[in-house]
Symmetry: none
């Protein structure tokens, strides 16, 4: 049809200009009810992973902020927090590990976490720069069949939200791989160059389930 | 043999993907007992040198931190310190020279020191940017047959460690040359481009002797 | 001669390795007596100019610092200052113009000033980034037959130095052209790419006259 031809023409033009569209999530207000569930490409049965996102927030000062939550029925399997004092904390079913990195802010930060069970090596990357490596949960396995939540911290299996911990701001480009990506690959992703296809959570193709006041916006990259 | 063929296949695959492995040292806690000795490729009989490393640490505030120590039986021949106030100090058997450069932090800093006996010129490089040049120990020679130590400051020939001065964090890519490398070469190394083979300490091939609680991790570059 | 052949061989080898040597000036201490006079390639009879240098200093806080002084018998024809509050000020025989740019520091800054008499347009460049343009001394001419001084501010024709205003740190790569260079040319110079030959002051060929405690060092680029 004419509409289909116009659509293909637009797609072709967008490809010519080198531009790409990406969806982004805006959490505008403090609530205990708004969140987005991401449907992974496969169960999170993980002995190693790389998890990346782009995040921007005006939250600052003494405020906990949940950035990423993956919870099974009984455990917080993989939570990433902004701590009360601005540092970032990773929690995998139990005590966490804290990184004293520069604070998140209103300009987008490209944030990655890598973890490998064999060595226990865990590191953060902010805008392509790697933090010091720490040793954490050597020999551990992340358990499958839970739920991935952005915007709230579930204190039980999707529920028990606390608005004082909710995320306010913008999150996009959340991707997860079941391996530790090379440092140079993460530098490439930060710089907007090629990225390997994410096989655990893939922002381009993952289904999103919305609850409450969350906006989805298409932006040109 | 079959094993050798598998090895060569893996090498070939790793080269195809453009990735490279590098070892990194994690010093997780404050001790007066954990350190790593590096075995140089040749004696440190030096009238000029370039010494580089990548370093990340959460230590801040009023805390001395030893970054690199080379000591013979009687003298601290070549020590690099973070001073109490965050500045960096270089000590070659006696009084040191201090650089008021930006502080080290939890994101990796690529750090180099160059020194030349003929002119006495000494300079730091942080992430490829050169500090001001200073004049230090003109005509001096670094003496051979000592020990290179990461993680502790030996107050006598490998011993007399003070936990208040120990290193906590991550150090990798420690290399030393017996000449002053050009500024542009150091910029290239920071950016991960080609580097001349290090002939005094070579991180790729140096033997490491471990004492206490130090982790070694392989990371992909 | 054999010496000449050896010299040409060394030049040819240095060109092969892509390295280049550049001289740099180190002012180590506070004095009212140490300075360097630069002998220009031609008189500074200027209706437009571009003046560039690389500079590194640990001076900070409330301290005036002279960066470049060109004085005839009666006037400060062209002085570049770090002001008491860290801003940069340009003075051409009389009242100056102030730029609220980022502070100089211990890591080298590539600094340029451009001025054109016809429009009065004056701008700074720091590490290739251009400041806002201001209007200053439209129709003015810089007068010839003065002296170019680094390290001190002459309050009369080479004399009357004040150690509270002296430069401490490192200055190199001081060049001056009798025209306003394009922005992209200045970016290229910052990045160490090609530069047009400087026709007023040429760092590669200018004669330097030393007074007091100033060191000259050759560094490889």
């Amino acid at each position: 049809s004419g509409k289909s031809i116009l659509f293909r023409l637009l797609m072709w033009m967008s490809r010519l200009s080198g531009s790409d569209s990406i969806k982004t999530l805006v959490f505008p207000t403090q609530t205990s009810t708004s969140y987005v569930e991401l449907v992974p490409q496969k169960p999170l049965n993980l002995r190693a992973y790389t998890m990346c996102m782009r995040v921007a927030t005006e939250l600052s000062g003494e405020r906990e902020v949940i950035l990423f939550a993956y919870r099974t029925r009984d455990y917080d399997e993989l939570n990433l927090w902004r701590e009360l004092d601005g540092r970032l904390g990773l929690y995998m079913s139990g005590e966490g590990i804290i990184f004293g990195v520069p604070e998140l802010g209103p300009l987008q930060t490209h944030l990655c976490v890598t973890w490998d069970s064999t060595s226990g090596a865990v590191a953060l990357f902010m805008n392509g720069r790697k933090s010091l490596t720490k040793i954490y949960k050597k020999g551990h396995t992340v358990q499958p069949w839970g739920q991935v939540i952005l915007g709230q911290d579930p204190d039980n299996y999707v529920g028990g939200f606390d608005e004082k911990q909710c995320f306010i701001g913008e999150i996009l480009d959340v991707n997860m791989w079941d391996s530790v990506l090379p440092d140079s690959t993460i530098e490439d992703m930060f710089a907007g160059r090629t990225a390997p296809t994410a096989n655990v959570i893939n922002w381009g193709s993952t289904a999103l389930l919305f609850q409450g006041n969350v906006h989805i916006v298409d932006v040109e990259r």
